[in-house]
């Protein structure tokens, strides 16, 4: 049974504007960590807020735990949410913050201490129970927010970009903590982010959204290796997939699948003539930006190689090859994935 399901979920903020969310169908599996990934304005946060009950859908249905909830208030949905700013109550101590949901839901006083201790223990908050949020670091605040969510024993966890406010270094360790949390708790979770690295690292499945629609849902491998359209192909991957257009067709291949063509190229690769314009050294890898000559003259291509490989000289023309099974084909008009075409 799907834990969270949305059917044709739509949200229109103003009648004249295009919908913020346009007919989204999602179904999470039990214990799954589903990531909603997309640029700002794609509607992912709006979907999350509708699932939480903080925003009313214009049309469509929301089901949680087999029960239709779109008319219900947040407190009746048995969910927990971690906000981008964590939304800790600033005038309450950590202990009181964690206790708040228990009080609000009428859990008997006698049970409070045990549940708080258990939630606090899971996140090593025991020493911090009497501190106020302003006395905590960013990482500690995240743990308090998680503990407060966990203590409710919800059916679903909802995360609204909780790592966005952290600096890069802290983000990596906070991400690890989230991963460990998920592995241990195994409650269904829906996680919203615009950061594809977070999405790929954390998600069991990723749903990529653009302008209110879900473009593709799949495992990280599926959406990366087999994108459903050019939007997904270029959104995932940094630098994005190379797209070459010709005769109404687009062929794509990822920068890391380009390699120097050795003597005697195999039948299953296509060779291009690549003129390097500039290179970027990034430490562990190198990016070469350039143009193709010959059949595909004028098309710009990015080549990604490990930094131990010798860099092409700027201005030099090099023969590069891409394996045929690495090509992806798209329709130039719609951007949608099509069947392979033969390449000259």
């Amino acid at each position: 049974m799907a834990i969270v399901e949305t059917r044709a979920l739509t949200k229109r903020f103003a009648a004249a504007d295009p919908p913020a969310v346009a007919g989204v169908d999602l179904a999470t599996r039990e214990g799954e960590f589903l990531v909603l990934l997309g640029p700002s304005g794609s509607g992912k946060t709006t979907v999350l807020r509708m699932i939480a009950g903080l925003e009313e859908p214009t049309s469509g249905e929301i089901w949680i735990g087999g029960r239709r909830v779109d008319g219900l208030s947040p407190r009746e949905r048995r969910i927990a949410m971690v906000f981008q700013s964590y939304a800790l109550y600033p005038h309450l101590t950590v202990r009181q913050n964690i206790a708040f949901p228990l009080k609000a839901q009428g859990v008997p006083r006698a049970d409070h201490a045990a549940r708080i201790a258990s939630a606090a223990g899971k996140f090593q908050l025991d020493r911090l129970l009497d501190r106020k949020p302003r006395e905590l670091s960013g990482g500690e605040r995240q743990r308090v927010a998680l503990a407060r969510a966990l203590v409710r024993e919800p059916q679903v966890f909802l995360f609204d970009e909780p790592l966005s406010n952290l600096d890069a270094k802290l983000r990596a360790s906070a991400r690890e903590e989230l991963q460990r949390f998920q592995d241990e708790i195994r409650t269904t979770a829906i996680y919203v982010t615009h950061d594809q690295i977070e999405a790929m690292a954390l998600g069991d499945r990723v749903a990529i959204m653009d302008r209110g629609r879900v473009r593709q849902i799949g495992t990280p491998t599926e959406v990366y290796d087999d994108p459903a359209d050019t939007f997904v192909a270029t959104f995932l991957g940094s630098p994005p997939m190379n797209l070459l257009e010709r005769d109404g067709r687009i062929i794509g291949f990822r920068p890391e699948h380009v390699r120097a063509a050795g003597g005697g190229t195999a039948e299953d690769s296509v060779v291009f003539r690549f003129r390097c314009e500039l290179t970027e050294y990034l430490g562990s890898e190198r990016l070469a930006f350039g143009e193709l000559d010959g059949d595909w003259a004028g098309r710009e291509v990015v080549w990604r190689m490990p930094s131990w490989q010798p860099a092409p000289e700027p201005g030099a023309q090099v023969a590069v090859a891409v394996a045929r099974d690495r090509f992806r084909y798209f329709d130039a008009a719609t951007g949608a994935r099509t069947t392979p075409v033969s390449l000259g």
Binding site: L54, P74, A80, F100
Partner: protein, 283 residues
């Protein structure tokens, strides 16, 4: 650079205070040609006067009662006006009117609204059969009713200011805090009493302090509504000082009475400065 400001404060504030200090320990009367030192006589004789004791009690009573009403009323009003709805702009303007209108105008309006013969309030109560037409309440003539009327007018006047301050405070609360409370399972009242109100407590205190100072020092409402009557029942310190010093001609006594306001106002000023300091440190 600060010379103009310092001169302003010295002239408009310092000078009158020094004057009243000087007068209070003298035996000055309107029209008297000589002044001599009188020590603490004026203060002692003020304390001995029954009218003074009533005025002192009333000052505290009206202030406390009216501000208690204001805090409760302003909180409800601010919560109601926080969410957008049709006509909210107009309603906010109407709420603000008692404050922006000159107090004398407001008081005159109320004087007619509470008149013993022509009161609209009485008319409504008679229509609702809560009061008999042959024995209408003397809103400003019966001591207890007069006290109630005065403190209600005080509350009516300071409510808008407190409401606006609270509205500002409420809008400063980040949106996701009440949302987090909603997701945590908290209903409307619990959220407001345990989360929202504690968070705006500093601002609430500021509004309260302002209201206390404005009400405690106001003589206009009493002067216009009841002249301090009936029989000094609604007298307050500022109005008593006015009647004694200006209308009665006993400048020294009047100054002494008005100086009794000073301790409370000093305490209020210190409290406000402390709050401001704490807000500064926190940011």
């Amino acid at each position: 650079m600060i010379a103009p400001a310092a001169a302003y404060v010295a002239l408009l504030v310092g000078l009158p205070v020094l004057m009243s200090l000087f007068l209070s320990v003298s035996d000055a009367r309107v029209g008297s040609e000589t002044i001599s030192f009188a020590g603490l006589t004026n203060f002692r004789s003020a304390l001995a006067t029954p009218a003074f004791r009533v005025a002192l009690r009333n000052s505290f009573l009206f202030t406390a009662a009216s501000q208690a009403l204001v805090v409760a009323g302003a909180t409800l009003l601010a919560l109601a006006l926080r969410e957008p709805f049709r006509g909210r702009g107009l309603l906010r303007l109407l709420v603000l009117l008692p404050w922006v209108a000159p107090i004398s105008l407001g008081a005159i309006g109320w004087k007619w609204l509470l008149d013993s013969l022509y009161s609209v309030v009485t008319w409504v109560l008679v229509a609702l059969s809560l009061v008999s037409a042959s024995n209408p309440p003397m809103w400003l003539g019966e001591p207890r009713l007069a006290m109630l009327s005065v403190l209600l007018v005080h509350a009516w006047r300071t409510l808008p200011f407190a409401t606006m301050i609270l509205l500002a405070g409420l809008s400063a609360i980040p949106r996701d805090i009440p949302e987090a409370a909603a997701v945590d399972g908290s209903g409307f009242w619990r959220t407001h009493f345990t989360i929202t109100l504690p968070m705006i407590r500093p601002i609430l205190l500021v509004a309260l302090l302002f209201g206390v100072v404005f009400t405690f020092t106001d003589m206009t409402a009493v002067y216009i509504l009841t002249r301090g009557g009936p029989a000094d029942a609604t007298q307050v310190l500022p109005s008593l000082a006015f009647f004694t010093g200006i209308l009665g001609g006993d400048l020294a006594q009047g100054a002494a009475i008005s100086l009794f306001l000073f301790p409370l106002l000093l305490a209020a000023a210190v409290a406000l400065l402390r709050l401001a300091r704490r807000a500064e440190d926190a940011s």
